[in-house]
Amino acid sequence: MTLSLNLIRPCLEGVIPGVIATCDASGVPNVSYVSQVHYVDAHQLALSFQFFNKTRQNMLQNPQLTAYVIDPVTTARYRIALLYLRTETDGPLFQHMKAKLAGIASHTGMSGIFELRGADICRVLQIEKVPGEESVRLPPDYNWLSVLRGLGERLARQVDLASLFEELLGGLAESVAIRHSMILMAEPAGRKLYTVATHGYAQSGVGSEIPFGAGVIGVAAEYRVPIRITHMAAEYGYGNAVRAGFAQDRFLETAIPFPGLAEPHSQMAVPILEGEQLLAVLYVESAQDLRFSYDDEDALMVLARQLARQIVQLQQCQDADTESAPPATKPAVQSGRRLQVRYFPANHSIFLDEEYLIKGVAGAILWRLLTAFVQEQRTEFSNRELRLDKHLNLPDIDDNLEARLILLQRRLAEKSCALAVVKTGRGRFRLQVDRPVQLLEQTAAD
């Protein structure tokens, strides 16, 4: 059996630059370094095209290339016979390589010099192991296959979105020590994502938003491709400079801070796709360099596929059957100081006693619930009625209602001890109001 590219991926992380030999038409060889020799699939790899140089001229004339790569841990060396096929200058593969190169550049002091112009895609014709001393690779601390099986079974048992997300993020921390993670739901109409579940942060950051295209999460969403960075790259993080750019979008949630690490050295965002449709993004990060490997990326993509199917299933059966409706209860007696709820219809933002809670779809839902509570003393609600509610005529509410409710539930739990949304069964929930409320609708003229 010939050596597979799958087995030499540790050589393809950009830790040691690859070496590429080419030859021009007159027979003069050329040898140069390339920052990235990137794994595409078992039969193809892509070289980072950063400069118009002799290597480039030669490969356009004569597509036969030879690459030499070294495993940065074991010193294993491989020689790869390649045939140059084509260059991509945008798209998922290009964006993935561009992000990874930004990390490599920043780590090696070459930011601003290493810039990706294209991804030179090559067919792997042969991989030859170069004889030489090498060390034994230590086995990883966990076995991804058994983790996937165990975690997959745990996820399959979950009956609502909130516990599905919790189980996944908790499971990643417990079984593979991925301690900082989050799930962001896509809102394609607004070209943004909103955080619905997080793990490992002092502030949950649920409700914070990331526009498509911004940082690893936004690029993963925009191009529906996993983005993995092995070293810190400011332009792909969510530091002040990147966040300052968000402020221009008045529909974007900027009041809730993004919970991510201030200086992640490793970042990975994988799209959660149902077919071609983006549902959400799973994001993980670490303060360590080179924390996530090609194998980790594969494993998270497998989990993301399962997650997508379950999200769709749970959304389809989120409506309650009428029989399971709990008896209508009289609202409990409210006591204590009056809670002032201020609502701005322009962006559906809600302030509780002048403190910001939430805006957008989740804000509109809460206002609707509170209005029903005040006018009709109702506390029991169903997903179905919200979905059919003409007052909540908001984009894509159908698809994401359950996720919006999770968001609302979490924000209330973090910000208010007077209001809560409590699940009472499949597709049903209760608005719990512990203090008297005063509703103030603020129109633009006020």
């Binding site: 080419t22 021009d24 027979g27 003069v28 060889p29 140089n53 030879t66 070294i70 170069v130």
Partner: protein, 167 residues
């Protein structure tokens, strides 16, 4: 002023010191069908006559390259300092095997230590370097060639520039 001759016309004292100081070295050639061959070399020194460069490498790791060199003499050697990305490429057309001498072996020893210190700065331990340079005594082969062209290849705006010979 004394006329500069041989290698010194092509390579400044600074560049000559650079390629012999313990940097990463890779060598390419090609076969009759223009398919490139490539291997990692170990050390480099200037021949006693000041005309040729002598590149040491492992025979067992370089069979295609040695076959191609024997047939074509075409050679391209790239030198890079991992910690700074400083890079130089030197090409020639008359490469061939020469007998390794004690100076080549001494140069290899010196380079092994110097390169170990260089990559140590980047976090590679001594054992990694030892494995890179591990070589059975009868596995050493030395290629000698006359440099014809030299290119500055440090990443940046001047990458790829041909360095003109001194007058």
């Amino acid at each position: 002023m004394e006329a500069v001759s041989g290698i010194a016309r092509l390579l400044s004292p600074d560049n000559l010191a650079f390629i012999q100081k313990g940097v990463s070295i890779n060598v390419a050639s090609r076969d009759v069908r223009r398919v490139p061959s490539l291997t990692r070399a170990l050390s480099c020194r200037v021949d006693a006559d000041g005309q040729r460069l002598r590149i040491a490498l492992s025979r067992s790791q370089s069979s295609d390259l040695l076959r191609d060199i024997e047939k074509s003499g075409a050679i391209a050697v790239v030198f890079t300092e991992p910690s700074t990305h400083r890079t130089l490429q030197i090409k020639g057309a008359d490469a061939g095997e020469v007998t390794a001498d004690t100076a080549d072996r001494a140069c290899l020893e010196h380079t092994r230590a110097a390169f170990g210190a260089e990559i140590g700065k980047l976090g590679f331990d001594a054992a990694f370097n030892t494995r890179l340079f591990q070589l059975a005594p009868d596995d050493l082969v030395v290629l000698a060639f006359t440099p014809q062209t030299v290119f500055q290849q440090t990443p940046g705006p001047n990458a790829g520039a041909l360095l003109e010979p001194a007058p």
